[in-house]
Amino acid sequence: MKVLVIIEHDNETVKQSSFSTITAAKEISDSVEAIVLGQGLDSVIDELKKSDHLKKIYKIDNELFKNPLAENLSNAIQKFAEGSDYTHILSPSSTFGKNMSPKLSALMDVQQISDITKIISDDTFERPIYAGNAVAKVKSTDQIKIITVRSTCFEPCALNSSVDVESLTVNLDKNNSVSFVSYDKSKSDRPELTSAKIVISGGRGMQNGENFRLLEGIADKLGAAMGASRAAVDAGFVPNDWQVGQTGKIVAPDLYIAVGISGAIQHIAGIKDSKFIACINKDEEAPIFNFSDYGLVGDLFELLPKLEEKL
């Protein structure tokens, strides 16, 4: 068996999710290789070649891959994989992987296995369905397994190695039917919700958008990302992209702090893989307490300033 990992990066750094995907690959086989497509990849390669578990890195440095257009990436990867003997092709289950990998699977006539959270054997995996309200154990009968990996379920690999890198060229016509226009990075100095070690979220109990400032001070001290429940987003307190839950972002930080959030099913679905959950809520009957490792009953307007002071 031989596993290929498709590396996600931004032409400057390697995304942490790629290192987690390498760890997942190693659980399938000792023979793991990686492919990086992009433009101006020097710093990406410098970082990636330290990855443990990788036997080899292939890089394709070409202006076609300056932006991660799924059409170009999937075609190039298919051409590369066709001529080799990979049994598994893994991508992180980020928006990058979700956009590109199903195209690769369609080109290779394979039924992709999305968002695996556990590897049982080389053909059997666990993946959440119904937003994590159930877990399916699935067995693939395809000859080649194309998989996306939920990166929060696998630790990033260690970086103590020095892996061989081979440069490849690609014969690919420019796809004229799609072009990249722009990328607007979220304006925030805080970490991304889906990769932060600590997340603090507010719910309807925050009463208005202004009061989210009470969470900001704490987030600053902890280096935490900020999120919100759907109720808070629907009430217009904060923007939609803060939404954590089944219909928003699925997070799995080391610590999730829920403030003024009752704990609706759809919110719990988005946070239940967190290592620790703490909550502050004035209603001691709120369902969130059943899912929290540490619950504090009380008025958040009194408790938040105290918490900020104690940190």
Partner: protein, 251 residues
């Protein structure tokens, strides 16, 4: 322009999911079913484009059991013009199979826009739109939060990607998959629900497509997610910080 909107019948998003005791799947008997919420957003977007005269005809396609006709009807009540049901007795089809059928229907219907939800909230695969675009060899814009039709037969699509928003320009015909922020779907009015009953739904047997619908991915078992260990209530902020620092060691 003609839009093909693909919709899936799924367990309503407000229903608490119960895993069957024999682990073969989740309970669907006597459970409320609805249109996949992301597909509802796709229908809404097509209807809005029709209201702006950017689209002339909206075809609602579903692939499933006879009951999926109800789902198509809700799309027609929102503003779809006619429906197509590709009928199967199989309760679940895999995305690759579904993608092949949508491709076959598209070959016949020749839509300018294939629009559907980014994922179904039952199997959470997030694959079908990408597969359809690949098989049709047309561009895709997934996870759309904004669509702008240009005069030169292109669409500017803003996509919700990790860490921000990406905009791509795609030629028409294309495939768009919808994300939550794109719009808020309307409720169908009673007169429109009545009118929808008169609209035509073509029913095609899945066997007539000559596509192998056998599963490549066998579901061995379905389990409840691991439960979280019950936690404790702490008395005050000091105790909370203390626990987080010394017991959980996350601060």
């Amino acid at each position: 322009m003609k839009a093909l909107v693909c919709v899936k019948r799924v367990i309503d998003y407000n229903v608490r999911i119960r895993v069957k005791s024999d682990k073969s799947g989740v309970e669907t008997d006597n459970v409320k079913m609805s249109m996949n919420p992301f597909d509802e957003i796709a229908v809404e977007e097509a209807v809005r484009m029709k209201e702006k005269s950017q689209i002339q005809e909206i075809v609602i396609l579903s692939i499933g059991t006879d009951k999926s006709q109800e789902t198509i009807r809700s799309g027609l009540a929102m503003g779809g013009d006619r429906g197509i049901l590709v009928k199967t007795d199989k309760e679940q089809l895999e995305p690759l199979t579904v993608g092949k059928i949508i491709k076959a229907v598209s070959d016949k219907e020749k839509p300018d826009l294939v629009i559907l939800g980014k994922q179904a909230i039952d199997d959470d695969c997030n694959q079908t739109g990408q597969i359809v675009a690949t098989l049709l060899e047309i561009p895709q814009a997934t996870f759309a939060s904004e669509l702008k039709k240009n005069d030169d037969n292109t669409l500017d699509v803003t996509r919700e990607v990790d860490g921000g928003l990406e905009t791509v320009k795609v030629n028409i015909p294309c495939v768009v998959t919808t994300d939550l922020r794109l719009n808020e779907p309307r409720y169908a009015s009673l007169p429109n629900i009545m009118k929808a009953k008169q609209k035509k739904i073509d029913v095609l047997e899945i066997g007539s497509f000559g596509i192998d619908i056998k599963d490549r991915l066998q579901i061995l078992e379905v389990n409840e997610p691991p439960e979280r260990k019950p936690g404790i209530k702490v008395d005050d902020v000091e105790a909370l910080v203390n626990k987080l620092k010394n017991e959980a060691k996350v601060l």
